[in-house]
Amino acid sequence: MANPVDSEVSRRGVLVGGTATAMIGILPSGQVQAQSARSDAARQDFGVSFEVNGKPYSLQLDTRTTLLDALREHIHLTGSKKGCDHGQCGACTVIINGVRINSCLTLAVMHQDDRITTIEGLGTPEQLHPMQAAFVKHDGYQCGYCTPGQICSAVAVLDEIKAGIPSHVSADLTSPPALTNIEMRERMSGNICRCGAYSNIAEAIAEAAGSKT
């Protein structure tokens, strides 16, 4: 394992300018002011362009801005939720180039030219995506705060199974995974629902997947 202090510095070193303040924690206290003053001068926004739900966006963003905050605070797509900001709950799940990701754990400037789908891109209240309709029918939610993340995850899970990607509970890594209840529960376990709608979410996903389990 690498020296934790070295790797910490080099990881942060990659993120120029705006993260200088974050380094203060590892500097002797005498350097705090000098470092802070430098960060003032050095802070810079960064240009990034990506597509969200089929629409192109070009943004000037603080390099520290997560993709989640870019979506919520800059593009004003607040469907993706901030439940923990640490990649622990899954409420911020979005789909990037077909693959689901915790948008709180990735910086917006890392997504140049990416195609991002959020909950708002799946369907609208008037025209629900089949997964959204299945969640309504099976009451696969209560407070609704984890729901956009659950639905984005569920849509991506079905694609992962279709693509033959195995999971921790797949009995066999070489044969295609099946649309079983246990496969879906395992793959959905990064999306916490504290209201405890899991049993209903499982039924909603099963219906949207067209399976009987």
Partner: protein
């Protein structure tokens, strides 16, 4: 409307809409990300600045010095509020500890500053530059130690709160000493975190001396009142708006620091400010379910009749706090002539303990229902039969006071039959499935019904649509939907014609959401307002309101009929009323009942525990919407599995804080932990509780679950664990030998 005599037949009894499984009317918004939660009101607040809270780094002591010079010069910083510059602040009625600390610090992560900056990133970076020097003092963080000298505590909710702190009936000591079969054990439950998915969040906007708060709060009027008290301004100057609440479970019953710091930050910054608590602040900055240590003694005859029962519980809280009322259910649940319950309250300097889903009963039944399982084993009796044997139809402390309705035995019998309980092996550790040890367990669910006054305003518009306005909240409970069902039933229109507006202090004060009182109380308030609106409609139409019936957009009286819309031809009609409660809860004990059945498997090699099947049978009066009520129960069962197997805030007894204060360290059940869950509601209508004849289920659902899981694990392994959560390290050493 005052409810002081049992309900007669009324329009709700038609159950054309009420009592039907209707999908949530807010479902399309929630599933498309279109429902606006507290931090998201961009449509009304277009230029917010961002506030980030700095939390105390010590558990007890004082702030010696705060140096803001570096933070103030950080990019984008607009204002920093600390106790020194916040002006004089009061403390809300429902808060135990003040929400802005300094100079004295009452608990870890108590807010000590809010840094307001143009962007979230700037505010976050600058908050890390606030330099706080603390003078730490000795704190009391060890519950077991503190309980050794803790005094008895009165039940804050008991009608006899002036009376003795113990509750005694008969002579417990003598009866217990003589009982042929005895149980005397200690059960412990840990501190638990609500960990609702949406952390507390608020946007504050001042307009002169008027303050509007878009926030996430279960009890609009409590929050609004306590914010006014805290800021020292008239309540009329504060408006709370909370149309969607991302879960609460009790953690959002009260005003919290996000709201206070947003209000103070916005004042200082001269512009709207939004503040969300970071996830790692939730356990230590807000409230939690306090840990308990419960001694339970039960003495019984050889054939299983309880002669003596004692439940003594101890918990801790900050100075002027409250006990966790873990002995509540033991006063009412089982028969037995000789009874003793008491609580001790230790002063601890940990964060504030307060209500979490089924406060009292949830941890109380975690102890009591293992104790009953142990007693059944000592008696050589089936655990279901032991409970049936000790059922009571009257309050065991006041035998002339019956239950309004008590179908616990039916819950037990029906649950046992549906679950296949007869296949359970009475000897533990006897059933194997490959490497797995398999067991079944059960427990009783019990939670009292509470009624709270609740108001509503209903409007019949000239378009024939009905609008309901009440400050009631929907925290995932389904309030929007059951209120729409109630108004549609009363006014004889389709549910699509009803618009429900919630969570705004501009609307009549409701019960709010808590204590499983929300569904029954708030729909009863809507019922009362609709009765008034029906009278106004009948009067406009020249009908006798007593004999008018409302159905299919028509009003009928005798052989006359009119369109509902005819009543508003000359202008809309508005009616407002509230439900108030008479003394029926004095003459009748009003409670909800259930049974939980669980099958668990334990890995014979590793001790890993998996829940395989779960069933709940509930008797809770009329079920207003079986779809959303079922969700309440399965969600509570899920939280019960968490309580049984994983949830525990680990206390650092030297520094005084909860160590595992995020969703990685504080583990809650995930998809893979929860099997398919079955829920059965008995067909009931309780005319003693309300015109809706309904009671709550949201807390009943968690009551007893953890014990049912623990009993199933015991039945699988033969190793009894009395210290929650039941983790594999606690039974691994005692697991049966693998043959």
């Amino acid at each position: 409307m005052k409810f002081d005599t049992p309900a007669q037949t009324n329009p709700i009894d038609r159950m054309r809409l009420v009592g039907r499984a209707h999908p949530r009317i807010d479902g399309p918004l929630k599933t498309t990300g279109s429902a606006t939660y507290a931090y998201e009101h961009r449509d009304v607040v277009t230029n917010p600045a961002y506030g980030v809270i700095v939390g105390s780094a010590i558990g007890k002591g004082r702030i010696a010095r705060i140096d803001l010079t570096v933070a103030e010069r950080a990019p984008g910083v607009i204002a920093i509020v600390i106790a020194e510059n916040a002006g004089k602040l009061g403390k809300g009625k429902y808060n135990t500890a003040k929400l802005l600390g300094g100079p004295d610090i009452d608990h870890y992560h108590q807010a000590v500053a809010v840094v307001v900056a143009t962007t979230f990133e700037q505010a976050t970076a600058a908050a890390a530059l606030v330099r706080v020097e603390y003078a730490q003092s000795e704190g009391r963080f060890d519950l077991e130690e503190a309980l050794k000298t803790a005094p008895l505590a009165k039940d804050p909710n008991s009608p006899e709160k002036q009376g003795p702190p113990e509750s005694r009936t008969g002579d417990f000591e003598q009866a217990f000493a003589r009982a042929p079969v005895k149980l005397d054990e200690l059960y412990t439950t840990p501190d638990q975190s609500h960990s609702m998915m949406e952390p507390h969040a608020s946007i504050a906007a001042w307009n002169g001396d008027k303050l509007t708060m878009w926030t996430s709060n279960q009890m609009i009027d409590w929050g609004r009142t306590d914010l006014a008290t805290t800021l020292g301004i008239p309540k009329e100057n504060v408006r709370f708006v909370s149309p969607y609440v991302g879960g609460g479970f009790g953690c959002k019953l009260f005003l919290r620091s996000d709201a206070v710091m947003a209000a103070l930050g916005a004042k200082a910054a001269g512009r709207p400010v939004k503040v969300a608590l970071p996830r790692p602040f939730v356990p230590n900055n807000t409230t939690h379910r306090p840990a308990t240590r419960q001694r339970i003694r039960i003495g019984a005859t050889a054939d299983g009749n309880i002669l003596a029962i004692a439940h003594e519980s101890g918990s801790g809280d900050l100075p002027d706090g409250q006990p966790e009322t873990a002995t509540n259910q033991t006063r009412l649940l089982y028969a037995g002539a000789n009874r003793l319950t008491s609580m001790r309250l230790a002063v601890l300097d940990l964060p504030e303990g307060n209500a979490m889903r089924a406060p009292g009963e949830a941890p109380g039944l975690m102890g009591l229902e293992i104790a009953m399982d142990e007693l059944a084993e000592k008696l050589g009796m089936d655990p279901v039969e032991l409970r049936v044997r000790n059922d009571t139809q009257v309050d065991p402390e006041k035998r002339d006071r019956p239950f309004s309705q008590r179908n616990l035995v039916r819950c037990l019998r029906e649950g046992a039959a549906r679950f296949g309980w007869q296949r359970r092996s009475p000897s533990p550790g006897a059933v194997r499935d490959g490497n797995w040890l398999v067991g079944m367990g059960m427990a009783v669910a019990f939670r009292n019904n509470m009624n709270i006054p609740s108001g509503a305003r209903v409007r019949l518009g000239q378009d024939g649509r009905v609008t309901v306005e009440t400050d009631m909240t929907d925290i995932g409970t389904g309030s929007y939907t059951i209120i729409a069902q109630t108004a549609a039933e009363m006014m004889g229109v389709d549910i699509e014609k009803v618009l429900v507006r919630l969570g705004d202090s501009a609307f009549p004060v409701s019960s709010g959401s808590g204590g499983q009182f929300g569904a029954n109380s708030s729909t009863s308030g809507v019922y009362a307002a609709c009765v008034k609106l029906r009278e106004a409609v009948a009067q406009r139409l020249g009908f006798n309101s007593a004999e008018a019936t409302f159905a299919h957009d028509q009003v009928l009286a005798g052989n006359r009929s009119a369109k509902l819309i005819d009543a508003v031809r000359d202008g809309e009609l508005v009616a407002e009323d509230k439900i108030e409660w008479g003394g029926l809860d004095k003459s009748y004990q009003q409670s909800t009942f259930g049974s939980h059945f669980v099958e668990a498997a334990v890995d014979g090699f590793t001790g890993e525990i998996r829940v395989r099947r779960m069933l709940a049978v509930c008797a809770a009066g009329r079920i207003l919407n079986p779809l959303t009520a079922r969700s309440q129960v399965i969600g509570a069962m899920t939280m019960g599995v968490g309580a049984a197997l994983m949830e525990e805030l680990a206390v650092d007894k030297r520094r005084g804080f909860f160590v595992n204060h995020d969703l990685a360290g504080y583990e809650v059940p995930v998809h893979a932990d929860i099997p398919h869950q079955e829920v059965i509601f008995l067909d009931e209508a309780d005319d003693k509780v309300s015109p809706m004849k309904a009671k709550g289920v949201a807390e009943l659902g968690i009551c007893g679950v953890a014990a049912a899981v623990a009993n199933a694990v015991y039945n699988a392994t033969g190793v009894r664990v009395r210290d929650y959560p039941v983790t594999l390290d606690k039974h691994l050493i005692g697991l049966p030998a693998i043959s």
